[in-house]
Point group: C2
Chain length 130, copies 2
């Protein structure tokens, strides 16, 4: 029998979700997505990042279509127990659906959002595996 | 006149908030807090992290009591434009109210949250400057 007490510590929001930051070992923040209890439980059980897609209202096994799986290395929680921090190994080196290494590729420069990181793979070719 | 078009790009949640990750230059994630439009505008104007405290329902100039100000170095937004990533210089080297370097000091180890990072300063002594 699995001891799930660690789940009881978590402060889910009013929708039963918690934000999860995925970070690479080199420190770069890859993305932020949301988890419900099932997604977080499965993330730990399967050793890969599994989120709850708010737009699709279903579990989202990151990489299920692209192959760009996030292998779980470590999982942390913050002092308020309302944010998860995952250390992951990003397969394919691409976390963002735009084909970039990570989702934070727009930087505020002189009052404008500038795209400062390159597209590594044409997004048209990322999702052809399904 | 200040051009605030960059604010129009942001997808605020139903409460008018956006989560903001504060990250140190060495890559360590310090904390996550929330911003409303005023907090984000002031963060950019004043060059320091200013959040919206959901518990106190007021602006929270990080470090206003402790002196542990977060000096803004860079601000990014993700592809969905619903998460902010700040690069900051953490004054005092302590971001967490528990007296630790950052708020993500609990790691999931064998089904339990373990405190894996040290307290650097007794929290009793952090908030005596007010």
């Amino acid at each position: 029998m699995v001891d799930n007490n660690w789940l009881d510590a978590i402060k889910w929001d009013e929708k039963g979700l918690i934000p999860a930051i995925a970070q690479a070992k080199d420190g770069r923040v890859l993305m932020v997505a949301w988890m419900n209890e099932e997604a977080l439980t499965l993330t730990v059980q399967e050793g890969r990042a599994i989120y709850w897609s708010r737009s699709r209202q279903k579990l989202w096994r990151k990489g299920e279509e692209s192959g760009n799986v996030q292998v779980l290395k470590e999982i942390r929680i913050d002092c308020d127990q309302d944010v998860i921090l995952l250390e992951v190994e990003q397969k394919g080196g691409i976390a963002c659906h735009t084909g970039r290494h990570n989702c934070f590729f727009k930087r505020l420069v002189d009052g404008k959002w500038e795209e400062v990181d390159p597209i590594l793979q044409d997004p048209e070719t990322i999702y052809t595996k399904k």
